[in-house]
Subunit: 313 residues, 4 copies
């Protein structure tokens, strides 16, 4: 039975796991991400070597935030590390003496969910990873869309609003500015500031001030029926629904998977997003539409997807 | 040497050709499209049988406007014919006794250009077909993107403007409303009505009135430097440039091909579109961008692409 | 009883009338507008002299398309004449030997309607004149808003859509591009081209082709229930409703008057516009909203308003 | 010499002053706003009675946030107090035994600036008060625009972006969401989070975190050349410039005054706003445009304007 290691390289922690062909994690470890970007490779290697001790592993897959080259060897650019053209594949391969592939973190999560999670069995999948920003992963006819330069499926960065909000990427009106967890938090903070009485439950979860509202509070409060939290989800859902309509015109997938931290709200987000999608999809009523489901693997999607892509190399 | 027949089924004419493995058309015919949709299959068969007389052909590829099923057998919906769930593959196969595949017309044109025309040699291609409407074709890692339901790459129908113009598809703000030949004509007619003196050259090509301006006049006049025609192209080019930026975020191709009647203006359209693309592309300056070229096969792209897809089945 | 003459200077005809203090037209004449802008003043004087023959008149008011100076003496700029800084007041005064005031045509129509037509009795009125373009007139506390430079109330030229349609004024996204008769015609032509069967009634009023649809056909067809014509009005009404919401935030009038050729459709336009206005008005439910009515004076509004402004000088 | 008292009723303090006919404040007091809305009237009266002790005053003007009735007697609705249909005029008149008028706070500030501050001498003035939200005041032909229901000049609440950001007023895309101090802070916090190195100066003014950035820090940092703070001002200035273009089309003022806390940045805001205004104004080049200046009275504008409106009753 062929085993591989998947590594999810985050800004605060590095999580690694040994994964089998069924997408099960047999062993796992989590280490703190070093402040010094120069030390990250050593910590990745340490994580890989820790989990492989009791297993025969064949390869390593790394999921990294940022732009990854088309040959899956180099991190071209990363926002949360000081890496520029970092030859991560070879650096890790030298340390662990195994074949290594590098892939974008949203791509590995999408691959994990598509193969072993919410997309199980469908060959055409689009995953929206809704966290601080909005990431994407696209599977077409069973193959991961990487793009000519390795930088495809950056679904948070097509323009949804001319003259729209300034984005961190330097352009205006990107989807990420409207459909991310940051957008949700902005909406809910403003709602609570306007109407603290209505947001009483929500405010009670933090320090009592709108500024003290954290993303996790919003999901909790929405589950308890807090109207301000629910309105925030409804606003974001409209943009997610529109994005799914746009991706249907372009990619025509069989299933949309909503992942990332915001998607932990489950149907609180998915139900209004699906409803709006059905309203604004192209040629509505004259064509079949994709299923809309919530991710099922949680934070493990990255480890599982990275490991499987290493096997699939 | 394996030969196949490609057929381009248009609203006014049906064009067929025998095509070799290098994408050369060895023999061709063009018949009028019957008014009665029920007679179209017979005319297609007649065209195929006419061109195959002196050639050994192995298969037939049909390019049809509208939604084509994922198994390439059925036209689900066509705007310019009364076809609904038309089993076109089997109907033609019965008449010509050859294997048949059906594909969307913008897809076959994109495939033809990608394999034998402007995209020669690149595995990741996006073609925008800018005619009366805006069609699209997407090639990823050398394979045509068809979509889960066979209806992908409808690039004219993602939303570029919230609350935007009503589209024929029933939604508002679709790309097609801003970047098509119809949009160009609308712009130029309005410009000429406002300032007939400035549009003197353009108006002289028709009956002298703004309403008498045809699409072909606009390209001709732009080549002669007519300022109103050039302004129209510049407006449309901004939307094409934005669409290429959006497709870069999502699909990250190596080349964009601009095709369709409007693209016959060549660099008059491509140059400002390319320039705007470079300005609004995501993460500009931190990532490579696609080439922007004009289609080279002209109206033959459909025949050549359809024939090649039949071979590739 | 003080009488004045009002003159409506149009692109094709010059209409003059003797008007009493109750806004009644006692005598009228209509002359063709000379092709040569240099002859227009003489024709205006001829019209004035014709109607005054049997009446004692005290002053003359002129309504002219274009920008009129704050002192109501000069036409600064007109799109449909070759006038630039035309000293129209003095030119006409020299010819008719009466005091003369010049005012913008949409302003005089608004004044006529506000004083003697649909706005009778209300001191705060906004009129939208929906013809080929969109003009406006604003009355605040019983006084006509002229603006510091004489060019206020150009309500068709505030921006309603960032990155929107190119306007004749040189900017993008002006209200006029979405809420004018031209916009209505564009919508309805496109609807009829897409679905001629559905637009059968409408098409039967012209030459049978979408291009042959005239503005007057659309109103006629809508009255007979033609679905394509009604959809066109519904689209335009959404923009009119939004414009009224915007003007409510800024000007807070007591009544909106819908005038111009498109408003001849009456409640076919006004009803959906009013409904949308109630939905999108600021602070809906927490503040009173303006009435929405259709103009009642028809093309006479200009003559009546111009005459009354001359009296009011 | 006739003296009046002006009162600026804020959420945290109530400021009153005795003002002469030249707009000079001769005496002043500032009291804390009571938490209990029911106590506010008593505190206003106390402030009035305190400042009038050594002066013969004839009337009192009150500037209050919220909707004020057309007869200037009643606060219909206030967001920062629990007042609903509060008969503030009569309540205060009973306590101070002087004639009282009530006016919206942005209106009194605009009146103060127009009469005695930056608009000195111009009869047609539009003031944008850019604080937490965006307020407005409009003077036409020397008279304050109040509106038919007393709720005009709410310039922060016309729609600038279809499908735009949710506003506290319940609608989407209001100017306030893009051009307010809150929008500036949101932009700058995001910029600092993305690029802390670039925002070093700005971050050093607070607790070192993006969330710790206050509005006052942004102006300070911009004055020292902090690039992230300057980019924030530049973004907001584009919307202010567009709003001035829109108000030019509608109101055609002779001068725009930029007031409120954000305008304390002076030309850092005004210069790019003016530049963008010149670019996007209607019929640019064919009409004169308004001056763009920064308010000069600071927080005193409210007291001075309220006092003067009381005199002018």
């Amino acid at each position: 039975m062929a085993l591989t290691v998947g590594v999810d390289i985050g800004g605060t922690k590095i999580a690694a796991g040994v994964v089998d062909e069924e997408g099960r994690i047999l062993e796992r470890v989590k280490l703190a991400t070093p402040k010094d970007s120069g030390q990250v490779a050593a910590t990745i290697a340490e994580a890989v070597n820790t989990v492989r001790q009791n297993h025969e592993v064949e390869a390593v897959g790394l999921g990294a935030a940022g732009f990854v080259s088309a040959d899956r060897a180099t991190v071209l650019f990363a926002a949360n590390m000081s890496w520029r053209n970092e030859p991560l594949r070879d650096r890790i391969a030298d340390l662990v003496h195994l074949p290594v592939v590098v892939e974008n973190d949203a791509n590995v999560a999408a691959w994990g969910e598509a193969r072993f999670g919410a997309g199980n069995g469908v060959d055409n999948v689009v995953m929206l990873t809704i966290g601080t920003g909005v990431g994407g992963g696209v599977i077409i006819d069973g193959r991961l869309l990487r793009g000519h330069f390795g930088i495809g499926a950056e679904l948070g960065h097509y323009r949804v609003q001319p003259g729209g909000l300034l984005c961190g990427c330097g352009q205006h009106g990107c989807l990420e500015q409207y459909a991310s967890g940051s957008a949700l938090t902005r909406l809910v903070k403003a709602g609570a500031a306007r109407n603290p009485e209505k947001a009483k439950l929500l405010l009670s979860l933090g320090d009592g001030t709108p500024e003290g509202i954290a993303g996790s509070h919003i999901t909790l409060a929405a589950r308890e029926g807090d109207p301000v939290a629910l309105e925030g989800f409804a606003e974001v859902a409209v943009w997610i629904g529109q994005a799914m309509a746009d991706m249907t015109a372009i990619l025509d997938p069989g299933v949309f998977i909503l992942g990332g931290g915001v998607s932990e709200a489950g149907e609180i987000l998915a139900a209004p997003a699906r409803e709006h999608y059905h309203t604004v999809a192209p040629a509505t009523g004259q064509r079949p539409l994709a299923e809309v489901v919530t991710a099922t693997l949680g934070p493990d999607a990255g480890i599982i997807g990275a490991a499987d892509l290493a096997r699939d190399r």
